[in-house]
């Protein structure tokens, strides 16, 4: 919040609180919307990949060994996502700190 809001004694505090609450509500609904889309797309991808690996010849129903494979595959896929995410963020922070050092050196 900018200082002039704090300085002003005429600021209607309750109205401002209401606006703030509404703002927070909008932000958190946008955040959860984005998170939901991310999870949905990750699940779609996992379905595609695990179907390819575990159901090579689709029969009249999923066999119990198909299901066991799918369960393991889903676990591994999520683990792979974690590993990739960790490597990616580590690399990005490494690159950006190098960039900062280079900028400081100039």
């Amino acid at each position: 919040m900018p200082d002039f809001f704090k300085a002003s004694s005429h600021a209607p505090d309750s109205a401002q609180a209401g606006t703030n609450a509404r703002k927070e509500a909008v932000m958190s609904s946008i955040r959860s919307e984005i998170a939901l889309v991310n999870v949905q797309e990750l699940i779609n991808k996992a379905t595609e990949k695990c179907f390819a690996k575990c159901v090579p010849k689709p029969g009249t129903s999923l066999t119990s060994s198909d299901e066991a494979c799918l369960a393991r595959c889903l676990d591994r896929y999520m683990e792979a996502f974690t590993v990739v995410s960790r490597s990616y963020t580590a690399r990005i922070s490494r690159e950006s700190s190098q960039l900062r050092e280079a900028a400081a050196g100039i």
Binding site: T19, I34, K45, R76, V83, V84, S87
Partner: protein
């Protein structure tokens, strides 16, 4: 597109408001714009990580999935990420170099009649 609608809506609103509320709306608008920008950047990172997971899964997980990663699969995944990013940087610098060579060649041919 949503942002445009949001801008228009707030602009219409500010005409009838007390200056203090108008100022409040402007800061609010800026805050929300910054927020959306940050969330969009975040979403882009998430998209890349998801895509990379799919790509590296195909390269590294070759057998049927076990109850844990097979030997070398996990390191293959992180190598895959690192090399993909290396590749991305390499391609960009390569294109830049080619562009520079092209510009240089053009400069040479125009200077000599």
């Amino acid at each position: 597109m949503d942002q445009l609608q949001f801008d228009d809506a707030t602009k219409v609103g500010t005409h009838h408001l007390h200056p203090l509320f108008a100022a409040l709306q402007t800061t609010l608008q800026k805050e929300l714009a910054t927020f959306l920008e940050r969330e969009q950047a975040h979403a882009r990172v998430n998209d890349s990580i998801r895509n990379l997971t799919g790509m590296c899964w195909d390269k590294c997980i070759t057998g049927t999935p076990g109850s844990r990663f097979a030997r070398g699969e996990e390191s293959c995944l992180s190598n895959c990420v690192e090399r993909f990013l290396d590749t991305s940087i390499f391609i960009v610098t390569q294109v830049q170099r080619q562009q520079q060579q092209l510009l240089q060649a053009q400069g040479d041919s125009s200077s000599s009649p």
